[in-house]
Point group: C2
Amino acid sequence: MIRREVENLTEEPELNPVIESLRKRGHRITAQREKILKIFIDLPHGHHLSAEDLHGKLIDEGMNVSLATAYRTLKLLSSLGLLRELDFAEGHKHYELKQDDLPHQHIICTNCNKTLEFEDHFLEDAGQKIGAKYDFEVVDAQFKIFGQCPECQR
Amino acid sequence: MIRREVENLTEEPELNPVIESLRKRGHRITAQREKILKIFIDLPHGHHLSAEDLHGKLIDEGMNVSLATAYRTLKLLSSLGLLRELDFAEGHKHYELKQDDLPHQHIICTNCNKTLEFEDHFLEDAGQKIGAKYDFEVVDAQFKIFGQCPECQR
DNA sequence: ATTCGTGCAAAATCTTTGCATTCGA
DNA sequence: TCGAATGCAAAGATTTTGCACGAAT
């Protein structure tokens, strides 16, 4: 698992805005929530975690958070728009930090479930435009391409 | 639930190709599978069913198919590319007949879970092109727009 | 006659929830 | 202090599976 290069920047400047966002909406800042947010911020771009993954990471890092809290926090952070909920049709959701400045989409191998990300600014715009056409207040646009990856094609 | 207008066309010309597709790949044609395919063929364009929905419809129409068979059949038909698997992030999958000549995408209300479909040929092409760029053999491309529908915006 | 598909019930997954306790504001 | 968040275990929801029986080829 890749960690950020500059380990001394422990103040995690990216953490403050999200913490503020929580506080401003009347949610409490608990050690569990802070740690969970930190994990997502430190996650390499393009990676995403399931509830189980997150829980495992928390335990690994010495933080005994219950799985129930992991689920509750993922749901809360998603509802606040801080996390993006990804559904790869494999039975459970994945989550990643929502960064509107770094939009990306996914290609999923229907055989080995590997995911690959790509950027396409046209798609991001398309989501907004199409949504607007139907008077939707767009929160997220996800383009998913399903197929066989090169390795699984034999 | 809307049914096809011309009820006398009971031979269901659309049924034959899918049945053939099953037979050619060595799968048996059972009454259950035939009925399930028929239900999907008769489904109004843009509608989609969960396993539970399908099972309910089967029972309603006097066909006592078990839920397990519904699940097994949905999985089989999807793996054969006859059904398209849709995941609206609400905890269970939905299925619709796969019609490459009638591609469409979805807008989902994150509040009431209503879905709305739209067509955009550019997106269909984009899926193929982007997939090809990564040497994927593309099976399906799904563009989902999440947001609040006009009614839920209050 | 085989082998595959089905039904049933049990199990496996994933996620949510009730309640007592703890902790943040 | 006081309500919100947590942990735990139990419950819910969805999907899968083992096994015996029945049906398709």
